[in-house]
């Protein structure tokens, strides 16, 4: 009882100093959490945009396809392969695709496009393609029409009901040419995707490209996004690794990963500086406290208190001080973080434009997960533990006579 009681009461001996020190911890952790939540929230949105716009969490390709994305590097989708993928644990859905490059033309306009043969339902399950519809109707499983992205439609000056001409090269050099009524127009946040995508139903695409039963990729959605790498490994184990390769979105888009890592590192440096300042603040408080109470420490040891017990009092006191700041900081950070998680800040002006240009939604959400709350609290706690080293060493070296003369 004595240790906790003395520590608690000592904390309030100099109320103003305690409150100022606790407030510095409070603001540090509050700013750190808010800053980190927006940072992580933006990354989460970025990843979601990438994963749910197009790539999925991971993809299965024929070996070598990713390095040379041509139809000839596609693979034949067998029933056995489908069955294996269906029963893999953690897979929430997958979208088979047959993808190639071709020329799309309407009237006097022609443009190089990505022709994507998809299973409309499966594709919708992975990328919510139907939600991206701006006008017209979504594709049916064996639809003979096409969906085209909004910027492309604008460029070609084509609308719903018009007929799109596609000319390209099919499997093994066969000529691929066809005409497809435009069923609808979809809009992608990424200008890059939005200016070059044409969707056909899978049977129609196979027919166009003379690629019977073929696919170029299968994109996967997972039940638990945190475990997509494990699911990817499971899927990989079901496949003949001589023929297939499984690539996560990170492997397919290393530049995005690099961008996130670099941004995250700069954020962490900022936090490091913030924490260093707080660390020195607490250090200063400890120093003042030690100088003020030297005589008292000497007296306590003189009357029979072991140094270890005295250290425990000071450690408890510092922990109380730190926890006061940490707990109140975390509590105060929860409401705004949760609010902006539910209602992300919409970006406007140049910032919104540049975000859209990069292919992401112009939003600034926060991340709502316990991991960074715990991580930031632990970092502050570790700083406090490091600062505690000073009083512990002082008490260890303390001699009663000198301390009581203080």
């Amino acid at each position: 009882m004595e240790i906790v009681l003395i520590a608690w009461r000592n904390l309030w001996r100099n109320k103003r100093r305690t409150l100022i020190t606790a407030a510095s911890v409070f603001f540090a952790i509050w700013f750190a959490l808010i800053m980190r939540s927006f940072q992580l929230g933006s990354y989460e949105l970025m990843v979601n945009n990438i994963v749910h716009a197009y790539s999925g969490y991971f993809q299965v390709h024929a070996k070598g396809y990713w390095d040379d994305k041509v139809l000839n590097n596609g693979f034949v989708n067998t029933n056995e392969l489908e069955l294996n993928l269906q029963k893999t644990e953690g897979v929430a859905g997958y979208a088979p695709r047959l993808e190639t490059f071709a020329l799309a033309s309407y009237g006097m306009q022609t443009k190089g496009v990505v022709v994507n043969g998809v299973d409309p339902d499966a594709e919708n399950g992975l990328t919510s393609l139907q939600k991206k519809m701006v006008t017209g109707q979504y594709l049916k499983p064996d639809d003979s029409g096409a969906l085209i992205s909004q910027r492309l439609a604008k460029y070609l000056k084509i609308g719903v009901g018009d007929t799109l001409v596609i000319i390209g090269q099919g499997y093994h050099g066969a000529t691929a040419a066809g005409i497809f009524p435009v069923r609808g127009i979809v809009r992608f946040p990424s200008p890059d995707l939005d200016s070059r995508l044409v969707y056909l139903s899978l049977p129609v695409a196979r027919n166009l490209l003379n690629a019977r039963d073929m696919l170029t990729s299968i994109a996967f959605n997972v039940e638990d996004p945190g475990k997509y790498k494990t699911v990817a490994k499971h899927v990989n184990s079901q496949l003949d690794n001589g023929l297939f390769e499984v690539m996560t979105w990170e492997e397919m888009m290393p530049d995005v990963v690099q961008q996130i890592r670099a941004d995250s590192a700069s954020g962490l440096i900022m936090l490091g500086i913030l924490y260093m300042i707080v660390g020195f603040g607490i250090f200063g408080t400890m120093l003042m406290m030690l100088n003020e109470r030297s005589r008292e420490f000497g007296m306590m040891i003189a009357i029979g208190m072991q140094k270890g017990r005295l250290m425990l009092i000071v450690i408890t006191e510092t922990l109380f001080l730190g926890l006061l700041g940490i707990v109140s900081g975390v509590m105060a950070a929860i409401p705004p973080i949760y609010y902006f998680y539910i209602h992300p800040i919409p970006l406007t002006g140049d910032m919104a434009e540049s975000t859209i240009r990069m292919g992401f939604e112009p939003l600034m959400p926060t991340a709502w997960e316990s991991s960074y709350f715990i991580a930031q609290s632990l970092v502050v706690l570790i700083i406090i533990l490091m600062v505690m080293f000073l009083p512990v060493m002082r008490i260890r070296r303390l001699t009663v006579i000198k301390a009581m003369r203080h």
Binding site: M1, E2, L5, I6, R9, N10, R13, R295, E296, M299, M300, I301, A302, I303, G304, M305, Q306, K307, R309, V400, I401, M404
Partner: protein, 228 residues
């Protein structure tokens, strides 16, 4: 048999370039129930001697036997334990724990000794009543006068049932009334409960009450006599 026996005690310090012999071959013994004043001019070695007897400092030479045990040979850890169980301290400037009430200050040392709460509370209350502070047991030191704080310090020193109490100039910061009051309490404890007190003091009023007066000069005992 003596409860404290000091044999050939020597202690010197370096003050700048000069070596100061704070204690120079001291040989004294104290019996149970003594009420002793150690007097002498500033720098005569009173406080150093008290620190040695209390195990707060180590001598360069000699032995201090308390109940037959040479405390100069004890490790720092054992010495702290020894002090807790066998020696009571009253310091010049009270030195109470400021965040604890009078009762908690007295109880504190018993808590260190591992005595159960009920026993602690009853003894602490009893001791505070004995020093005339039965009505101030829940007051913190800052709410007590100097004399009252020093009485709490006496109660705290007695709480662990020590073999003796060392008091370093206990009346130095007190006014006449508080000094008189404190001396009466200590005298009463000495007479009624055979508590051994050893003081260092400059205060003639304390010397007058002492049964034995030891005079130190330049670290040597120059006079050691009993008085009525």
């Amino acid at each position: 048999m003596s409860i404290i026996a000091i044999e050939n005690l020597k202690k010197s310090y370096r003050d700048s370039e000069v070596e100061v012999h704070a204690l120079n071959d001291i040989n004294i013994a104290f019996d149970q129930g003594e009420f002793t004043a150690i007097v002498g001019p500033s720098g005569s070695g009173k406080t150093t001697l008290l620190n040695m007897i209390g195990g707060l400092d180590k001598p360069d030479n000699g032995r201090i036997l308390i109940g037959g045990e040479d405390i100069t040979k004890l490790s720092s850890r054992k010495l702290i334990d020894f002090r807790m169980h066998h020696i009571g301290f009253v310091f010049q400037s009270y030195n109470l724990i400021p965040v604890l009430t009078a009762l908690e200050n007295v109880e504190f040392i018993m808590h260190l000794q591992g005595i159960k709460r009920e026993k602690r509370l009853s003894r602490a209350t009893e001791l505070l009543e004995a020093v005339g502070l039965g009505d101030r047991i829940h007051s913190r030191p800052s709410k007590l006068s100097g004399g009252q704080q020093q009485r709490v310090a006496v109660a705290r020193a007695l709480a662990s049932r020590p073999r003796f109490i060392l008091a370093d100039e206990p009346t130095a910061n007190l006014d006449s009334a508080s000094t008189r009051n404190l001396l009466e309490i200590m005298e009463k404890l000495n007479q009624e409960e055979q508590v051994t007190f050893i003081f260092s003091t400059h205060d003639q009023r304390v010397v007058d009450k002492a049964h034995r007066v030891i005079v130190l000069e330049d670290g040597k005992v120059v006079k050691d006599e009993y008085q009525n």
